[in-house]
C-alpha cells in the first residue's frame, strides 16, 4: 500500500501558493508598472531576487525571519502559527520562490497593454474595477496565464527552500520532491522512480490543460 501523502501535500502546497502568488504577483505587477522609474527599479530587484538566489539561500532567509528562535517566529508561535516543520511552511517557501515568475511575466504583460484602452474605458464611464477585470486582464491573459503556469510548476517542484524550512517528515511535511530525494538517498530507487513518474504525470497534465485552454480560446476568436 503506497503512502500517497506526498502527492496530496505537494498538490495542496502548489495550489495554495499558486493562488496566493497569482493575486500577489498581479497586484505588484500592476502597481509597479505605474511607479516612477527609480522606485520601480529598486522594487524590481527586491521582488525578483528569490528567482536568482539559490533556493537554499531563500530557505536560509526564511529561517532567519520565521525560525522559532527569531522574534517574528516567536511572536507568530504565540498565535500557534509555526512555519517551521509544518506543511503550510511549505506554502510559504513555495510562494516566496514562485512569486518572481508570476510578478515578472504579469508585469511584462501589463507594460505591453495599450493604455488607450483603459483611457477610453474611463471616458465611456466604466468603473476602474470593470476596466481592470474585463479589459486589462483579458488583454493580458496570455502573459498572466503563462506566469500562473510557471509559478505552479515552480511551486510543485520546490525543493531547496522547502527542505530548509520544513524538512522531511513522512506523513507531515513530505512533498514529492523531498520524497524523491529521501528515497533515493536511502537506496530505494524503485520508490524514487515511482514518485518521479508521478511528478512527470502531473506536469504533463498541467501542460495539456494549458494547451487545451489556448486552442479553445483561439477557436472562440474565429468567426
Amino acid at each position: 500500500m503506497t503512502d500517497w501523502y506526498p502527492l496530496w501535500n505537494s498538490l495542496r502546497i502548489a495550489a495554495i501558493s499558486c493562488a496566493v502568488v497569482f493575486f500577489l504577483g498581479i497586484f505588484f505587477a500592476y502597481y509597479a508598472a505605474r511607479l516612477p522609474r527609480i522606485v520601480k527599479g529598486i522594487l524590481d530587484v527586491i521582488l525578483t531576487l528569490p528567482m536568482v538566489l539559490p533556493p537554499t539561500v531563500c530557505g536560509y532567509f526564511l529561517l532567519l525571519v520565521f525560525g522559532l528562535r527569531r522574534p517574528i517566529g516567536l511572536w507568530l508561535a504565540t498565535y500557534g502559527i509555526r512555519f517551521v516543520m509544518t506543511w503550510y511552511g511549505g506554502v510559504l517557501a513555495a510562494t516566496v520562490v514562485a512569486f518572481p515568475l508570476m510578478y515578472r511575466t504579469a508585469r511584462g504583460a501589463f507594460e505591453a497593454f495599450d493604455e488607450t484602452l483603459a483611457y477610453s474605458g474611463k471616458t465611456l464611464g466604466l468603473s476602474n474595477a470593470f476596466i481592470f477585470w474585463r479589459i486589462r486582464m483579458p488583454a493580458c491573459r496570455q502573459g498572466i496565464l503563462a506566469g500562473t503556469v510557471l509559478a505552479f510548476a515552480r511551486a510543485l517542484g520546490e525543493y531547496g527552500a522547502t527542505s530548509m524550512l520544513i524538512g522531511y517528515t513522512p506523513g507531515r511535511t513530505a512533498t514529492i520532491s523531498t520524497t524523491v530525494y529521501q528515497l533515493w538517498r536511502t537506496d530505494d530507487e524503485r520508490g524514487a522512480l515511482f514518485w518521479v513518474l508521478v511528478n512527470l504525470a502531473i506536469s504533463t497534465v498541467v501542460l495539456l490543460i494549458v494547451n487545451l485552454l489556448e486552442s479553445r480560446r483561439k477557436k472562440a476568436v474565429k468567426p
Partner: protein
C-alpha cells in the same frame, strides 16, 4: 452648448498653455505633431491633469485648480474617439457598444438603444464580430457608436482618419461630416491635416509649441492666417521675411521685390505669404520678372518653381501651382499677384525669439 478651456501644464521643457472657447459644431485644433493637441484633449477628458486652469463644459466645471475641482473621466461626459479607436479586442461589436450603455439599468431600454446605435451606424450583421475582423471604417463606426451611446456633452476626435487608408479617408470624411452636421453638440477635432480641418470644421484653432496662435472661422483663417506658423499649417508654400515700407506696401528682401497689399500694414510684421495657387501671368499688380527653375507634375496639377530676377539662387524657389490645362505653352516672363492675396504675417507671443 459650449466648452471653455484655459489650462496650463508643464512637461519638462514642453509647456502647454491653451485658452479657447468652442461652441456647437466642429472646432478643429490644427497643428503639427507634438504641438500639444492630443495633450489638450487628454486634459479635457480628465486623463491628464493640468497644473492649473479651468475647464467648463455647458456650465459644469470639470476642472478648476482654484477651487480644487477635478472630476474623474467617468463623470465628465466627454466622448473621446482615439486615434486607433481603442475598441476592446476581447469583446464583440455588440459588447463594445454595450460598454457605452452600462449606466442604462433598464434592460429593454438598453437593448433598444443598442439596436438604435447599430442601425444609425450601419453595423447590422457585424454585431458578433471582434474588432480585428472589421475594416478600418467599420472600426471607426463601432467606436463612434460606443461613444454616442453614452450621450456625451462633448465629442472629441483625435486624428480620426490617420488610421485609415488614403482611399477610404475621403469617403469617411464626408460620412463623418454628414453624421455630425446635425449633432448639435460641441465637437472638438484634432488634426495635422489642413484638408481635414478645412473640410470638416466651422472654427479652427492653430496650435504650435503648446500654444494657440490663432483662432478663427475656418474660411477666414485660410484667407488670413495672421502668423507664419498658421500660414504654414494652412498650406502656404511661399513665405519670406518682409519689412513695412508704406501703408500699403512691404519690401521682401529675399525675393528682391516690393509688394502692394490690400490691407494696411500694421506693426510687428514678420513676413508675407503668397499662396502657390494665386499667381497670374496676365496683366495685374505686383508684377515682377521671374526665371523658372523646376517643374514638377502631379496627377492633376503642375508645380512650377521660379525665382524672382533679383532673388539669390541660394534661397528656396517660389512655388506656383496651377491645374494642367491652364499651364501655358510658353513660360511667362513676368508673374503678378493681386494685393488681396498677399498674406500679412505678424509676430505672435510665442515667437518672440527672432527667427
Amino acid at each position: 452648448m459650449s466648452l471653455f478651456v484655459d489650462i496650463h501644464k508643464s512637461y519638462g521643457a514642453f509647456s502647454l498653455d491653451v485658452a479657447f472657447e468652442a461652441e456647437s459644431g466642429i472646432t478643429c485644433l490644427l497643428g503639427a505633431s507634438g504641438c500639444g493637441k492630443s495633450l489638450t484633449l487628454k486634459c479635457i477628458a480628465g486623463i491628464e491633469t493640468p497644473d492649473r486652469g479651468r475647464i467648463v463644459l455647458d456650465g459644469r466645471t470639470l476642472f478648476d485648480s482654484e477651487i480644487r475641482v477635478n472630476l474623474p473621466p467617468q463623470k465628465r461626459r466627454v466622448g473621446y474617439l482615439f486615434q486607433n479607436y481603442a475598441l476592446f479586442p476581447n469583446m464583440t461589436v455588440r459588447e463594445n457598444i454595450l460598454c457605452g450603455l452600462r449606466s442604462e439599468k433598464n434592460r429593454v431600454e438598453r437593448e433598444r438603444k443598442l439596436q438604435e446605435m447599430i442601425a444609425v451606424m450601419q453595423l447590422g450583421g457585424l454585431e458578433d464580430r471582434k474588432p480585428d475582423e472589421l475594416s478600418g471604417g467599420q472600426q471607426q463606426r463601432v467606436a463612434l457608436a460606443r461613444i454616442l451611446a453614452t450621450e456625451p456633452a462633448l465629442l472629441m476626435l483625435d486624428e480620426p482618419f490617420s488610421a485609415l487608408d488614403a482611399h477610404l479617408r475621403d469617403s469617411l470624411k464626408i460620412e463623418l461630416r454628414d453624421r455630425l452636421v446635425d449633432y448639435g453638440k460641441t465637437v472638438l477635432m484634432v488634426t495635422h491635416s489642413r484638408d481635414e480641418a478645412y473640410n470638416l470644421s466651422r472654427m479652427i484653432a492653430v496650435m504650435d509649441a503648446g500654444r494657440i496662435l490663432a483662432m478663427n472661422e475656418t474660411k477666414a483663417l485660410f484667407r488670413n492666417p495672421g502668423s507664419v506658423s498658421a500660414a504654414i499649417l494652412t498650406g502656404c508654400k511661399n513665405i519670406a521675411s518682409a519689412i513695412r515700407t508704406g501703408e500699403y506696401e512691404v519690401e521682401v528682401p529675399e525675393w528682391g521685390i516690393r509688394l502692394e497689399t490690400a490691407e494696411p500694414v500694421g506693426d510687428g510684421l514678420e513676413a508675407v505669404g503668397l499662396r502657390a495657387h494665386y499667381f497670374n501671368a496676365g496683366a495685374g499688380k505686383n508684377r515682377y520678372p521671374v526665371r523658372f527653375v523646376e517643374e514638377m507634375e502631379e496627377p492633376f496639377e503642375t508645380i512650377l518653381q521660379f525665382r524672382y530676377v533679383g532673388q539669390s539662387s541660394e534661397t528656396p524657389p517660389v512655388w506656383w501651382r496651377l491645374s494642367k490645362e491652364k499651364k501655358p505653352s510658353v513660360f511667362p516672363e513676368e508673374l503678378g499677384i493681386a494685393p488681396a492675396n498677399v498674406l500679412l504675417l505678424y509676430r505672435t507671443d510665442s515667437e518672440r525669439e527672432p527667427r
